[in-house]
Amino acid sequence: MQDGLIAGLFQGRLNEALLRIEAPAQDEETMEILLQSLDRFLNKEVDGAAIDREGKIPQSVLDGCKQLGLFGLVIPEEYGGLGLGMRSYGRVITRVATHCGATAVTLGAHQSIGLKALLLAGTDQQKQKWLPACATGERIGAYALTEPEAGSDAGSLRTTLRVEGDQVVLDGGKIWITNGGIAGLFTVFARDGDEIRAVLVPRETPGVSTGPEEHKLGIRGSSTTTLTFDNAAVPRENVIAGDGFRLAMDILNSGRTGLAAGTLGPAQVLLDLARERATTRRQFGRTLAEFALVRQHLAEMTLDLAGMQALVALAGRLIDGGAPHALEAAAAKIYCSEALWQIADRAMQLAGGSGYMSEYPYERILRDARINRIFEGANDVLRLLVALKGLKQPGRELKEIASRPLTALPRLGARALRRMRIAPLSLENGQHAAAQRLSRAVKTLARAADATLRRHGKGVIEAQCDLQRLADMAIECTAMAAVLVEGSPYAEAFVERGLHRVERSAAGLGADRDDVARLLLKDAS
């Protein structure tokens, strides 16, 4: 399989073809009418503050979403859906999230992950049977992987599946199931001996039950429940073929881009609020925007949003263009969820006391935003994924060189050369300096990857503080590259900030300077 963009960065390669991949064009005129219709619906019917207060999405809103077709966005037309690509889907989710995080999460959990197993690995027969009802929203989908003892370590799940005649029988329990209370179809991951399988379980199956609604910090209108199986039997043809664990991970890998797109809506809302606040609120006879610290906040927020938009656009193009995208989607998810949190924090700070009051949207958006760093892969674990996958090829090369130093000599030279000279992006619009900075950042990452492998050897898997630094560098490099090719007006500043961040991460490598746990242990011994 072809190396992805981020895997290339770890090897000192800036794959411009992937970075600029052109996916099939979207029909802009149709999208414009679609988004206008959606805006009318959202403005008139969807009150995010009320949904948060009530802790429930009203049936009228769900019905409106169904009527508009929002439950069938990614389902192919032949199964009754709209067949939108990732970029168009992302734009719709962004709009919904602008008005209500809970509604966006409900739609996202349904089609980013809930019915994704069917889309990715279902047979035509399975698709024919279930997807049309999913497309109308008659059966809302839910993804059921997490268990009390199996969170980030999903492979240790204990829900069992056994074959009995032409049925499979499920026993066990799941937790934190988004859409649990409203779903009509669960994609359940269960253990069949050593194997993990994905099974489609309709809600009405005897022995299937969901618990009461959980009370949550944010996205309070969305449904989250437990899901229990007590001798729950479904027909054998509900089992989705193939390795269920692999499928569970593949679903999350592609679903994360939807989550990232959902962060763009609230981020834009907050930035608009902050700008408005900074230019109208006066203290000491001046507007807030006239104070350097306030401008600093606004500038960081502006750059963060530019990075978020560019990463979502890049991940969307990679997915729609059929290119490898697992690490890039993870990078977008990590970056967007954290940048939104930062933006929410800064916007609240600039709003002063008003920011803390429920009368204004800041605190709700802040609460809603927090979950993005936790679900669909906790960011800490995703960072390890990015770093370890990124280190794979450099690790293989170093191992080969070490075992056969003489024969590997010519390749060693080429390898070193690649890390010395990384061709800067070909940018036509006088952004030569920015392209050079990006090239420098990628060089820094590739050298850091080699240095980390040499320093830790086989122990690299446990060198989590350094792995995190490498992941941070890779994500930042990806964001810089994405912002440059998107032609953002803030590209110069973004790349300058990015290079600074990359170099700071590199400086920390192996130094244990911020490895606080180790410092504590040193003191104790």
Binding site: S37, G69, L82
Partner: protein, 249 residues
């Protein structure tokens, strides 16, 4: 049942209207447009009837090239086809408008011809009944209920002190009053399908104007409200002001 709905593209009712430099037109820069709401109600009812008993819904729009977007929206809501009579004339008097529409409708077969009771920009409340006259068809205006079967329609019409129930042989013309139907949001599927639906195009003739619009003026700026007092004691003063100043009593 084959139904034709005439619709107009108008500035969004929520938009802030600016008068153009010539003093007699609206500055359309950055202005959002919509299907005139009463026309949209007529369209919604037409679609409901089609869905109940089959047939076709055709929308007809006399307006600028930009109206293609509102026509597409009507198609996305569920209309089957459209006729776009293109025209660059900003203002046209009602009779001239009605004649152009009637010329294009003559020779088409339909069971019902629907209009909104008025457009929300020009507010003439004239086109529907004028077209009916030009086509020599019966017309019922201000319709709040409309059902059709077996070659006739049963309608309720808003009257001064209540409702009139009217039966009329088809084909006939109706103008929609609020309450007839609540327009749907175009579904995304409808929007995607609208692309494939046919829009027939025609050109409106350049005709001598019967009426010319000389000037447009914005409404007078609203003066701020006033609190005259609190509780029962304020009532006499309030009544006095309503009588002498506001002259509403």
């Amino acid at each position: 049942m084959d139904i034709i709905v005439c619709m107009k593209r108008v500035p969004d009712s929520a938009a802030r209207i600016q008068i153009g430099g010539d003093g007699r037109s609206i500055d359309s820069a950055g202005l959002e447009h919509i299907i005139s709401p009463y026309d949209e109600m007529a369209l919604e009812r037409a679609l409901q009837i089609k869905e109940e008993q089959g047939g076709t819904v055709t929308v007809v729009c006399l307006g600028a090239a930009e109206a293609a977007k509102e026509i597409r929206q009507a198609l996305a809501m569920g209309a089957d086809q459209a006729l776009h009579i293109k025209s660059d004339v900003g203002y046209r008097d009602p009779l001239t408008t009605a004649r152009i529409l009637a010329d294009h409708l003559k020779g088409r077969t339909f069971d019902m011809l629907l209009f909104g009771k008025q457009s929300i920009d020009a507010d003439n409340s004239a086109i529907g009944v004028m077209v009916a006259t030009l086509l020599d068809l019966p017309a019922v205006s201000l319709v709040t209920k409309l059902d059709a079967a077996d070659g006739k329609a049963t309608v309720e019409r808003e009257a001064e002190a209540g409702a009139e129930v009217i039966e009329v042989a088809l084909p006939a013309v109706f103008t929609a009053q609020r309450g007839l139907a609540e327009p749907r949001y175009p579904s995304i599927k409808g929007i995607m399908q609208a692309k494939k639906k046919p829009i027939e195009e025609a050109q409106a003739p350049e005709e001598a104007a019967l009426i010319t619009l000389e000037a447009l003026e914005p409404p007078p700026a609203r003066t701020g409200g006033r609190i005259v007092g609190e509780g029962v004691e304020a009532v006499p003063e309030l009544v006095r002001l309503l009588r002498s100043e506001a002259k509403v009593l």
